[in-house]
Subunit: 198 residues, 2 copies
Amino acid sequence: MAFEGPVQDLIEEFGRLPGIGPKSAQRLAFHMLTIDTEDARRLANAIVQVKERVRFCVRCFNVAEQQECRICRDPRRDPTVLCVVEEPRDVMAIEKTAEFRGRYHVLGGAISPIDGVGPDQLRIKELVARVGAEDVAELVLATNPNIEGEATASYLARLLKSMGLRVSRIASGLPVGGDLEYADEVTLGRAFAGRRDL
Amino acid sequence: MAFEGPVQDLIEEFGRLPGIGPKSAQRLAFHMLTIDTEDARRLANAIVQVKERVRFCVRCFNVAEQQECRICRDPRRDPTVLCVVEEPRDVMAIEKTAEFRGRYHVLGGAISPIDGVGPDQLRIKELVARVGAEDVAELVLATNPNIEGEATASYLARLLKSMGLRVSRIASGLPVGGDLEYADEVTLGRAFAGRRDL
């Protein structure tokens, strides 16, 4: 026997979300039963609102409420430096550091032949068009430091260096607060290779 | 800088759910951005529906779409045996075993003085009223085998045995497929204490 109709429906909907297994979906559904109707409606409404009001920036493909995102509309940002990332959440992670004052370009993923994602599935031709049309002097490649992200960074470096840009890659190395002893050998190797004179 | 308004709102709403930390909430919110509006609306609607259509059975306090839940309305269920559980999800777990053909009584929790939950916060007086009004001959106490569940079971056993009922407790012991070597000592002790003649 399954649960009563609406409960079962909700369990199935929660279960479709990434990282939510059947047990978590069940727990969440029963949680919704116990909370105030007001709170449940607020969640439902937030889901609807995000679909209705959020789109992607026509320039950099970050999330935006208007044609362009907040960062592209901000005149204080340096338009000559672009930081290339995989996803909008990466933009937010970098913004939190307050280290970067240029603009972004969101690729929408990374090159991954195993998942059928090649350069054509990413917003690479849009990036090339921006570099041509805007006054871009430097690119910082901030794709993830994993196989797909590295492959994407190499591909972009080859493609864009030929256009006369300064192209850099964010550093790999030991995380701050980390322990040398517990670092994996690839990370530690990178930390050595990327050592800087003091 | 926070995320664009609606994205931030959704992250906060997801973050209020049990077991969803800030990172998961962010991942879920960005997932909603990438899926079809149709799918997002289905989730939002399932949340609203569960609040609008699901209530608690007036008899056993299981989840129900009508006055009484499916199990209480089912004439094939034996009304003389009641299984007492903490939550509606426990009803569903027991139903999946197909071992029990009686009805249920959902307490809505377990006795836990540390959380301020005493017998009066649970549906114990409703249980006593049912035992008086319905033709109940046997009670199976299926609260969780942890401190709160055991305390609740002991309390109920003392209270209800005096009413001339057969009161039993579900067995504690080694899980099927488990390894004796890895069992904790309390569970293994219970398995010995509850041994059955063959």
